[in-house]
Symmetry: C2
C-alpha cells in the first residue's frame, strides 16, 4: 500500500460485514466498497470528516444477508454506483466487466470477475490489496447454493484468478465471523481448509455440497432490495 493512500476498514456487527474506504490523499478522490444501509450515516460522515470526494460506490456482488447503502449514499454524495454486468439490472451507473479499470486520483482499481458465490461476484484490486467480497474469505469462502452460485466456478475463480496474484497481496474479505480483519494470498494457499493448494476441485465441490447452511435471515428482503429498490 502506498503510504499516501487513505484507507479505512469499517465493520457492521449484525451481519459481520466489512466496508472499505480508499482515497488519494492528494486529489481526495475516494472509492467506497460494500457499504451497509444501517451504517450509511457513519460512512457519509467519515467521507466528509476526511474531506473526500466520493467518486465510486462499488458492490462486490448482490448481497443476500444485508441491504447495500449504495443507493442511499449515491443520493447523498452524487457518486456513481458500480456492479457487475453479469446481473440483469438497469440501476447501477457502471456495469463492470472483468479487466475493467477505474481510477481515483493516482490509483487504479482493477475489476476481476470471480463468480461462484453469485454469478456476478467481482473482486477489486488496488495496489497490493484485493477486496474479495464473498469469493474468498479468511480460511473460508462464500456459499454457492443460491443466486446462481456454483462451487465449480468458485473453485476456478479462486485457484485460477485470485491465487495467481502475488503471494503478498493482502486480502480484505467481505465478511468475517471470527474477528479476523484480513489475510493474504500466501496464507490462504497454505491454510484455507477448502481451497488450499493441496485440495482439488472434486474435494472442494464435495465440501460445498455438504455445508447444510440455513438460508440468510434477510435474504427475502435483501436480494430484491439490492437488485432494485435501493437504487431508485
Amino acid at each position: 500500500m502506498n503510504d499516501k493512500m487513505i484507507f479505512h476498514q469499517l465493520f457492521e456487527k449484525e451481519t459481520s460485514t466489512y466496508t472499505y474506504l480508499l482515497a488519494d490523499s492528494d486529489t481526495k478522490e475516494a472509492v467506497l466498497i460494500d457499504p451497509v444501509i444501517e451504517m450509511a450515516d457513519r460512512d457519509v460522515k467519515l467521507v466528509a470528516d476526511l474531506g473526500l470526494k466520493l467518486k465510486y460506490i462499488l458492490d462486490t456482488h448482490v448481497h443476500a444477508d444485508h441491504i447495500t447503502a449504495s443507493g442511499e449514499i449515491r443520493k447523498r454524495t452524487g457518486a456513481k454506483v458500480g456492479l457487475s454486468s453479469a446481473y440483469d439490472m438497469a440501476c447501477p451507473d457502471l456495469h463492470l466487466e472483468d479487466g475493467q479499470e477505474l481510477s481515483f486520483g493516482k490509483y487504479i482499481l482493477k475489476v476481476i470477475h470471480t463468480p461462484g458465490h453469485t454469478s456476478g461476484c467481482l473482486s477489486y484490486q488496488v495496489e497490493n490489496m484485493l477486496f474479495t467480497g464473498d469469493a474468498l474469505l479468511v480460511r473460508g469462502c462464500g456459499r454457492t447454493d443460491f443466486q446462481e452460485g456454483s462451487a465449480e466456478k468458485l473453485f476456478h475463480s479462486v485457484r485460477d484468478k485470485i491465487f495467481n496474484l502475488p503471494d503478498d497481496t493482502i486480502v480484505y474479505p467481505g465478511h468475517d465471523y471470527k474477528g479476523f480483519t484480513k489475510t493474504s494470498i500466501d496464507l490462504e494457499k497454505r491454510l484455507n481448509p477448502r481451497l488450499k493448494l493441496e485440495m482439488n476441485k472434486e474435494q472442494f465441490m464435495e465440501i460445498m455440497s455438504n455445508l447444510k447452511l440455513a438460508y440468510p435471515k434477510k435474504i427475502q428482503e435483501a436480494v430484491p432490495a439490492n437488485l432494485q429498490v435501493v437504487y431508485h
Copy 2:
C-alpha cells in the same frame, strides 16, 4: 509500518474488543496485545499458523468489560505477561514502567503510561503505530468513573503525551462500538468531540462527569479475574 512486520488486528464481537498480534517476519518473535479469553483458541492457532514464537502478552490495562486471555495463553505458549507497575499485583511477569522498551526481533515496543481510564493504563508504541487501549478511542475515550479513573489525568495523558506523537501515527484502539478499526493523531486532534485541540480541560472534565454510563455488565467478574485469578 515496516513492510516486513507481521500485523493482525483481531476483533471480539460481544465486547467490541480489539486484540493485536505483531511479529518480526525474520525472527518470528511476536507480541500479543489485549487478548480476550473467549478468543484464546483463535489467537493461539493464529500464532501457530504463522509460525510465530510469542514472546510477550501485554494488557493495556486491567479490563472491566471482559476477561483477559493473558494467563491462559501464557500457560499454552510460555510467553511473558506484562502489565503496568501501577497496579498492586504479583501475577504479571513484567511490571511495566513509563518509557520502558521491549524488543521483539528488530522492533522496539515503547511503553507510555497514559493513566485516567484506570490508574495503570499503558499505551504501546511500535514504529508509527500506537495501541491506546481505552485511553484514546476513535472520536472518544474510555470512561473515568471507576478503577481509580480520573478525567484530569486522562486529559493530560492524551493531550500532553499521546498528542505529542507525530500526527501521522496510526492509533489502534482497545475497542470500537461503531465499526471503526483505527484512527490517527491528526484525526483525533481535529475530530475527537471530547479531546480535540479546541477543547480545554474544564470542558473535558464537565463532559466526563455527565456521561451517566451504566456499569459494565461483566465488571464484578472481570476486574477480580483480571487482577488475580487468570494469572495463576
